[in-house]
């Protein structure tokens, strides 16, 4: 399993202090999620695209990610144009599509994709472990951070374990289909995976006790805000507050 696909790279955004990126990502998402004015959203789209450009990621990869993310949005498109009410635009059989409904669906699509693009540019450009580290500096509870660290640490290990079990099934000519045998086999696979994890967790706990673990995870490296981090933080905060003012102050 590949994790941190976008995290390798040497762009400005890859090098930016993860604390700055997290703070900006949160504020940006919140403003866009509740915004409904075109001025604000247009600025947001431009900002998200600029960030994506700065992150210098493979556009093909980003596009593939977006496709998957839009499954839910496509589902909403099947309903919203017909159920929103308003001025009738065209009809398919007994269903009337309204202008307002289509605009609303379009609005949701733009908002959703803008946020995801910004999140890819800002957050996916740091390894998850680095983000966890940054979160611990942003006053997220210790236990939650530990949970995140351990989960990420064992994700790949357990995925290998899963691959092994799956290979064992394949060797025995297992072909998934819609039948009880398949579901039973998957249930046993899951059970085996849980048992193996449970035993592994016990070994980890003992190993940690041997090394004197008493509930504190020492972080060896600390972040330092460089001048470029401060400049980027100020610029992006100004842009996000600009977006917010376009939404709530101007044109009211």
């Amino acid at each position: 399993m590949h994790i941190d696909n976008f995290a390798t790279g040497d762009s400005l955004l890859h090098r930016l202090d993860p604390r700055v990126k997290i703070v900006v990502a949160i504020l940006f998402s919140v403003v866009v999620a509740v915004a409904d004015r075109y001025g604000c959203l247009a600025t947001a789209v431009c900002l998200a695209l600029t960030l994506l450009f700065l992150a210098r990621l493979s556009l093909r990869e980003v596009f593939l990610r977006l496709l998957v993310v839009n499954a839910f949005i496509v589902f909403l498109w099947l309903f919203l144009p017909f159920t929103y009410g308003g001025e009738k635009l065209f009809s398919i059989g007994p269903l009337d599509a309204t202008r307002e409904g289509i605009i609303y669906a379009l609005l949701i699509t733009v908002k959703s994709n803008t946020i995801v693009l910004a999140l890819i540019a800002l957050l996916a450009t740091s390894p998850v472990v680095t983000l966890g580290h940054a979160l611990s500096h942003l006053y997220v509870p210790d236990k939650l951070i530990h949970l995140l660290f351990f989960t990420v640490r064992y994700l790949q290990v357990l995925h290998l374990e899963y691959d092994r079990l799956r290979d064992a099934m394949r060797i025995r000519a297992f072909k998934p289909g819609t039948n009880v045998h398949t579901y039973k086999s998957f249930a046993y696979l899951l059970g085996m995976l849980l048992i193996k994890s449970f035993d592994r967790a016990d070994r980890i706990r003992k190993a940690m006790l041997c090394r004197g673990f008493h509930g504190k995870y020492y972080l060896l490296s600390h972040f330092e805000l460089q001048r470029v981090d401060m400049i980027m933080l100020v610029i992006m905060m100004l842009l996000v507050s600009g977006m917010a003012s376009l939404q709530w102050i101007i044109l009211k």
Partner: protein, 204 residues
């Protein structure tokens, strides 16, 4: 089972976030440092399991397994699901920051309810009863999750009503599937490693 960014209204997002903060706080309080590796490794196991594509007729679905997660982890399911949802957001861009609370609550709340409703029943000495309860646990967890998801949409706007109804109906096969998988899985665990189901309860 994720709601994308930019869909829900601010009141729904804020309510979801507040409820998740409360649930996670309780979960963290009940989970001492000793238990962190155990909860984390099981969280990764569930994360990996949720990547399995299980065929249902012509299409395939992913398992959610929040009912089983609740049974095994108790209140620790709340932080575990939060971490799972956050990782799905970070690694695959499923869900995002503003929907983190709502999406966590949609899956974690049924997990906790399953823990209280079925936690004692699954050890029933009559294996038929135990399996029926395990099926009910898997079924109920998805039913409740899809209802919560539908409610989030309906509270956002009346126009989502049709979409919400269809979403719940579309989850019916998933409910049955999850019930079957959880039933078989629990029967297997009770035979092979019954202490797995008791161990984390002591902490939660």
């Amino acid at each position: 089972m994720h709601i994308s960014e930019g869909v829900l209204s601010a009141p729904v997002l804020v309510t979801g976030a507040a409820l998740t903060v409360a649930g996670v706080a309780v979960g963290l309080k009940k989970m001492d440092y000793e238990k962190i590796p155990q909860v984390a490794v099981l969280t990764s196991a569930f994360f990996v399991a949720s990547l399995i594509r299980v065929p249902v007729g012509p299409s395939a679905v992913h398992l959610v397994l929040n009912g089983l997660l609740g049974l095994i982890l108790g209140w620790a399911a709340f932080p575990a699901i939060l971490v799972g949802v956050a990782l799905q957001g970070l690694l695959f861009q499923f869900g995002g920051l503003t929907t983190l609370g709502v999406n966590t609550f949609i899956m974690a709340m049924p997990a906790i309810l399953c823990y209280y409703l079925f936690g004692r029943g699954i050890g029933h000495k009559h294996s038929g009863v135990a399996m029926a309860l395990a099926f009910a646990c898997g079924f109920f967890a998805i039913l409740l999750s899809s209802l919560l998801l539908a409610l989030c949409l309906i509270f956002t706007g009346e126009s989502f009503l049709q979409a919400a109804k269809v979403l719940v109906l579309a989850h019916l096969p998933v409910m049955v599937l999850e019930g079957v998988v959880v039933a078989f899985c629990l029967a297997f665990l009770m035979k092979v490693k019954p202490e797995l189901l008791g161990a984390t309860h002591a902490a939660g």
